[in-house]
Subunit: 189 residues, 2 copies
DNA sequence: CGGTCTCTTGACGGAGTTCAAAGCTAGTGG
DNA sequence: CCACTAGCTTTGAACTCCGTCAAGAGACCG
């Protein structure tokens, strides 16, 4: 929870009473490695702030193949936005990649909190601005680079992160099969 | 400009004085077909509201191939978010696909306007929420469907829009070459 | 240890690209 | 209002990246 306050204070000022309000309204949830926070077909009234550890958002296509669409590490928000906004059943799974903790932001208490702490409107606007910008960037990498280029680029940009996740998750995030990732690595060695 | 007010009023209430403030701070710009609002290498201190017509955001890769990353029709915001947020030179082009008009939202007057009309924080939060959700959706289509499936899906979803844009733009948006689009169409006929 | 994930390796196949050339369309100026 | 040109679309052949399938080798956890 403290991690969330710190994150918020990078963008807005929080008074002590705001923190009290937030502490009362939000809940911190510990998650074990591989545990699911959301599964396909369920409603998703939450936005998740990764306080500690690492989560991933993925879906399973009709051939049974997993596709990771987002990793969320410490200090990122992550959720199925369509299901969060629209209230329909989700088409995604949200899973803890590592043991850690998330803060649950509940859509059903969102309006009340935003009224009591108007600065949060600004906070979420800025957070969304950055995540939309990141998505735009990711789209560009996915469409412009070859699989091998994406791997090397990602590997150079986040060398420590690559060690933290299994290769099949990384492959599905980078948009190719685990077999192909294995072949890239064999070439480079 | 009136189109923008209507869009804002779908999410928040605007007082007459707010509209006066906005009218003074924002500018409406007419654009001719094929005209560029932003070019690679330039700064991008604007967010663009498409008031009438259709714009597209694209980049050119090192082989000289254009990739359309977003279409913005009436009632959508469109810009290079990285360059807008970060203030670096843009890596994108923003071009009018049809003759029309856009409203320019200037980052340099953003803070002042948001202070004078706090409800706008909420408006932009909700707009960004929806556009981030749309990007998440688009990512899924791009990674999970074959080129041919994407074409048919898009064609069924937006049959009237497909008529409005040249095929090479559509192909680059759907993630394949104009030649391939031509072959899909030949198969179906 | 034993079983279940995870990673590697190789042969084959297919979706989509590249290159080149020809046909078509639409905008522009005379 | 027609003719010309530049840009857009079509078509085909060769090629490539990467997926699929299958089988085996590690690696991790109870």
């Amino acid at each position: 929870m403290e991690a969330l306050f710190q994150h918020m204070e990078r963008y807005i000022k929080l008074r002590e009473e705001d923190k009290v309000l937030l502490s009362g309204a939000l809940s911190l949830r510990e998650v074990k490695k591989k545990e699911h926070l959301l599964e396909e077909g369920r409603l998703c009234p939450y936005n998740y702030f990764v306080s500690k550890g690492c989560c991933r958002l993925y879906y399973v296509n009709d051939k049974g193949i997993e596709h990771t669409v987002q990793f969320g590490i410490d200090g990122w928000w992550i959720t199925d936005l369509m299901a969060y906004v629209g209230g329909q059943p989700s088409g995604y799974y949200l899973q803890a990649v590592e043991t850690g903790a998330v803060v649950l932001w509940d859509r059903r208490t969102e309006d009340a909190l935003l009224q009591q702490i108007p600065a949060l409107e600004r906070y979420f606007r800025l957070v969304l601005l950055r995540s939309a910008a990141a998505e735009q960037q990711r789209n560009r990498y996915l469409s412009d680079f070859s699989g091998e280029e994406r791997y090397h680029h990602f590997n150079n940009s986040f060398p420590e992160f690559v060690q933290r996740v299994p290769q099949y998750m990384l492959a599905s995030y980078l948009g190719f099969t685990p077999e192909f990732l294995s072949k890239i690595r064999a070439r480079k060695a």
